[in-house]
């Protein structure tokens, strides 16, 4: 059953999925605008991002992140089948035939280790299980570089094998063979491949093997897509982490972090709550919830999408961020750092870019679906901005620090708020 045709066929299915997954992964990283404020979660060595994340289309982040998680899930069975198809090469003899072959084998160790590492950490992360004891984001990010660097080298060395295999065997011809005609793959001329020397008689056709892999891939695609598309399709996300429904109420939709899980003292979001507006480190306004409700209210139907690959679209009502900037006297601010009253956590603050502040659908939401936000969804007030990653749509907002144009804030007072 094994051989260069099988490996090539699986690879040609795997490669586009990995390309989508890698591209959307880096795009997702760019969506965090890591150059702003404390948005960068770690030292990136080089800054690969040179544009402000846009606010249109509103479903942009839902699409990129949905594609990332779905293509990643769909690739898993194909990757496993591919590793199964080439496993004899792990034990090949002689172990090293030349310097070039030795380098290829080192590259393969990086490739197999890198791919399994990136897929495993990704799959564990979307299920919120962190047994690895290191920080997920930088590990997944740099692991991807190791994986992709090794993959590029591997593709370069194996494209000739793939072309030869497809030329000699046809791209899909081996799929037509029934069991009686399922023959072992012959060795490609002049190459060392996984074509078996002494194969057992087949008990399966190649189309059944690949059909099973395809069914697994399709099943995971449906489960992953169900939690991105949402609505009635969420029920298809049978085993995906966000396949469950909360109910029919206005606040019954997916929560990334519940109020209970972030340890905010109840009185911080009670009657004494007030939104502090600062400009360049100077306090300009404190607005309570009634004052915010008395301002111009804007309603927008916007999706909120999580990096873990799920999305939900709701109707949000609140005050425009640009209106708050005006009230604070911030002019045309270049950025705003939104801080939660949340006592700890990497995402208790997020910095938004100029375009995000100016966008007319960017809101400090007070209500959702016509009702007050629930505590789990960020009561008294939360940010909602089109196409912004969910974790940057800060909940339980306590303070907004605007940076007015061309006037750097006093960094000491920004870091140590009164």
């Amino acid at each position: 059953m094994r051989g260069p045709w099988l490996a090539s066929f699986l690879s040609s299915a795997l490669l586009p999925l990995i390309a989508i997954c890698a591209f959307t992964g880096f795009v997702s990283h760019a969506a965090y605008d890591t150059g702003l404020g404390s948005n960068g979660l770690f030292d990136e060595g080089v800054d690969l991002y040179f544009f402000d994340w846009p606010t249109r289309p509103a479903w942009l982040y839902a699409a990129t992140q949905g594609l990332h998680v779905v293509s990643g899930l769909a690739a898993i069975p194909i990757l496993l089948a591919k590793l199964w198809a080439v496993i004899p090469q792990l034990f090949e003899n002689p172990a090293v035939r030349s310097v070039a072959h030795g380098l290829e084998r080192i590259g393969l160790a990086l490739l197999v280790g890198g791919s399994l590492f990136v897929f495993a950490t990704g799959v564990l992360n979307i299920q919120l299980w962190y047994p690895f004891g290191f920080s997920f984001v930088p590990a997944h990010y740099y692991g991807a570089f190791v994986f992709l660097a090794a993959l590029a080298f591997h593709v370069l060395t194996k494209v000739p094998v793939m072309r030869q295999a497809f030329r000699e065997r046809g791209v899909v011809r081996p799929l037509r063979d029934d069991l009686a005609h399922t023959e072992p793959e012959p060795e490609l001329e002049g190459r060392h491949t996984t074509a078996p020397e002494d194969p057992a008689p087949p008990t399966m056709t190649r189309r059944l093997l690949l059909g099973t892999v395809g069914a697994g891939s399709l099943g995971l695609t449906v489960m992953g897509a169900g939690q991105v598309v949402g609505g009635p399709f969420r029920e298809l996300a049978l085993l995906a982490p966000r396949g469950e429904d909360f109910g029919d109420g206005p606040n019954d939709f997916q929560v990334n972090k519940t109020f209970k899980s972030v340890n905010i003292p109840r009185e911080e979001v009670g009657g004494d709550w007030g939104l502090v507006l600062e400009v360049d480190g100077e306090r300009r306004e404190v607005l309570d919830r009634d004052q915010l409700l008395a301002m111009d209210q804007v309603t927008a139907e916007l999706p909120i999408a999580c990096v873990e690959g799920w999305t939900t679209t709701q109707t949000w009502t609140g005050v425009r961020l640009s209106e708050l900037a005006r009230v604070a006297g911030a002019g045309n601010p270049s950025e705003v750092e939104v801080r939660s009253v949340q006592p700890a956590g990497a995402f208790r603050r997020a910095t938004l870019n100029r375009g995000q502040i100016r966008q007319s659908d960017s809101l400090l939401a007070l209500k959702v679906n016509g009702e007050d936000l629930s505590l789990d969804h960020g009561f008294p007030a939360r940010v909602i901005v089109p196409a912004l990653p969910g974790v940057h749509c800060t909940k339980w907002v306590g303070k907004m620090v605007f940076k007015s144009d061309g006037n750097a804030p006093d960094s000491a007072s920004v870091r140590n708020p009164a």
Binding site: P201, A215, L239, V255
Partner: protein, 160 residues
């Protein structure tokens, strides 16, 4: 030509290898510098190879060959079909478990339930139901095919 003989491939191959290793080395050094537990990062990178290539794959291969040796013994059509009608749902059910085991087995202690406000109790039931459906569906198709397969096998005996 001399280079190809000594090295084993073209100069482009060597340049690509160097470029690839430099990027990988840069990424590894960045990760080791940024992460608070660099040792565990390296362990996971290496352990993932061991866990897959030396544990998971040999394990399912062994189960597979045992199944071939017992169920498909004699290599009659019906026995080979029975084997496939068992191992296709087994592979799909195993894949679902491999991908979703933190939710299915509830290994993710309380992080998931506390952060999402959702229960993770439904996942074991859902996985069992999915597996049951896969095996039952496969068994049904096998039952429908069984008659034709048996006739084929006896026909083959008579032809012999």
């Amino acid at each position: 030509m001399r280079f190809r003989y000594e090295y084993g491939a073209s100069p482009v191959h060597l340049l690509a290898a160097i470029a690839s290793f430099l990027i990988a080395a840069w990424a590894l050094s960045q990760a080791l510098e940024v992460l608070s537990s660099p040792g565990r990062f390296l362990i996971w990178l290496g352990a993932s190879i061991v866990a897959h290539d030396l544990i998971l794959l040999p394990l399912y291969s062994a189960v597979g060959s045992a199944a071939v040796g017992t169920i498909a013994r004699g290599r009659t059509r019906i026995r080979i079909a029975a084997l496939n009608h068992l191992r296709v749902p087994a592979l799909l059910s195993g894949l679902a478990l491999l991908v979703w085991f933190p939710l299915v087995l509830g290994t993710g202690d309380s992080t998931f339930t506390s952060a999402s406000g959702l229960s993770n109790e439904i996942y074991l039931e859902r996985w069992l139901a999915l597996s049951a459906m896969l095996f039952a569906g496969s068994a049904l198709v096998f039952a429908l095919r069984a008659r034709g397969l048996r006739r084929w096998d006896t026909g083959a005996d008579e032809r012999r």
